[in-house]
Symmetry: C2
Subunit: 329 residues, 2 copies
Amino acid sequence: MEVITLKRISEVLGLSISTVSRALKDHPDISANTKKRVHELADTLEYEPNINAISLRSKKNNVFGLIVPTLSGFFYDSFISAVEQECRPNGYSLMILQSSDDAEIEKNSLRICKQNRISGLFVCLSTQTNSMEAFDKFKEADIPLVFFDKVPEGNKYNKICVADEQAAKLAAELLLQKGSKKILSIFGNENLSITKTRFKAFQKIISLQKDAVTFNEYCSSHEEAKKTTKQYFSKKIKPDAVFCMSDEILIGVMKSLNELKISIPEDVSVITLSDGFLPKIYTPEITYIETSGYKLGKLAFTKMMDCLNGNTEAEELFISSPLVKGGSM
Amino acid sequence: MEVITLKRISEVLGLSISTVSRALKDHPDISANTKKRVHELADTLEYEPNINAISLRSKKNNVFGLIVPTLSGFFYDSFISAVEQECRPNGYSLMILQSSDDAEIEKNSLRICKQNRISGLFVCLSTQTNSMEAFDKFKEADIPLVFFDKVPEGNKYNKICVADEQAAKLAAELLLQKGSKKILSIFGNENLSITKTRFKAFQKIISLQKDAVTFNEYCSSHEEAKKTTKQYFSKKIKPDAVFCMSDEILIGVMKSLNELKISIPEDVSVITLSDGFLPKIYTPEITYIETSGYKLGKLAFTKMMDCLNGNTEAEELFISSPLVKGGSM
DNA sequence: AACAGTTGCGAAAACGTTTGCGGGGGAAAA
DNA sequence: TTTTCCCCCGCAAACGTTTTCGCAACTGTT
């Protein structure tokens, strides 16, 4: 299988390489007739430009890097799906890398991105990341950086986030409004800023209600959440509501409640922050505050294009988190 | 931010570009001292080779294409995760494309792959694909093609599959062994070879048992599966077992059974083919035959490397599908 | 002192594009 | 007829590598 290049086409047609190149790009210098001949031959020969050559010449690779802790999760797949959907029509490709939540691998992934001279980078930080130095190198090289979900501290980065504060607040208000007094609140990894934000906002609202108390727990896996839930519901005074910070938590909580045959919403109210897939699996469907990976992806892409168009100032953007009512409250 | 190239290093050190290149690659022609000097400067300058230039020169891009109908599913994310995990340590990158189950987009994705001169391609066909012509072009160009999950017919392609026949057979045997007599069997998209295979194998086993009957249905979404299940369980004579061909089906089935307050496994046995995530969400956990996207990914990668090493003969490989017992039978 | 063999390095071409510049040739203007 | 101008097109450099070939300067052998 001979591979078709501009040179090949130029030879067949008795033209120069430059003329063929310009003809294919509809350059005004080229006559209509020549353009026609070139296009036709290119079509029949199924010419495809060599992206590597173009990238080399233009010093720009139309590829975005995307680094996530793991692909197989509850959330990242829909984020990536959204980004990819935008990429193709805009002439970009996506190079995906997993950090496995390991700072070393993350750093290595950054190297790969650098070597590939990517045009931009989407990043969800690993929980182990302790230095932003490697990321700052990209900034210095004017390669747009868009963080999402797990984002760095400080105001010098582009961050696309769920409106965590608002979402947690909304959940808390809803619980109080339903008259919940003893709320079991389970959060994720304690070190993440996302956890801190959600925790603080949730706490603040609950504390406004004098006769309501919360039992706060941090669980970093659904197994842990399951165990914790079981403990609370084995006591004499059981919680009358459970707040889950994420899908991961929800899974554990539901497993416990179901095993203990605790009825939802009769015995206990349940509310969670979620992408929306899992809450609908259960019966009754769980009421949730939407934290859409899909929306997040769309917004992240928009911000990326913004950056490429010269809008370089760091910005923190939020997606709205509407309430989706199920039957769990 | 000046970008560092071999040329830049050679200028600083008063060497030629070729010498620098060779020094970095530990070429025997270069003296130990020169190598040391070059390596040190490259390190402090944080030189990163330009992959685009390398790809152009070598006519090989160390990138694999990966086309799936959609990223956000039950299955593909773990497949991709497995492939990505193998790629990095082997010096490859992954370019991911979604076909959105659309033949046109799929074709377009193939173009992108071609333009990028990828080294190999993983494909899960869209259900709309009606011609393999575009894929055959890759074969002709000696670009390895590895199909998975939804694979083409015929024996001229590399296919990595779940042992569908064996899995469906196993499920059927288990149901009969438990004494199920009236089995509701719900399958996915009727046109897929994967569906046909599972259907045939399942049917064959059931038909061996004279007093057992199956009600066969095809549903292409969980909503449809839910509706269908509801219909069957609203009749006087209800099924005593449900077989689900996939997670998608399982979701619908469980929703119906739960809403109808039908007890598992007392009133009905449930068994499914699944990646394993969803079955464990439910209480009791659903018994399933494992169809691991992760294992599939690992095997697909192995086959890809095989192809690149010259083993070009088309091959159909299977991953085993062990039974994972839950409490649903 | 002449020779062959080795060691260490550089020149240049090639991969496939894009693009600034320049030039031939024909038509219109003088 | 000469001049001017415009229309088409080709030359060549550049992007950053890798690699073939060759050459100079030693080293050691007769």
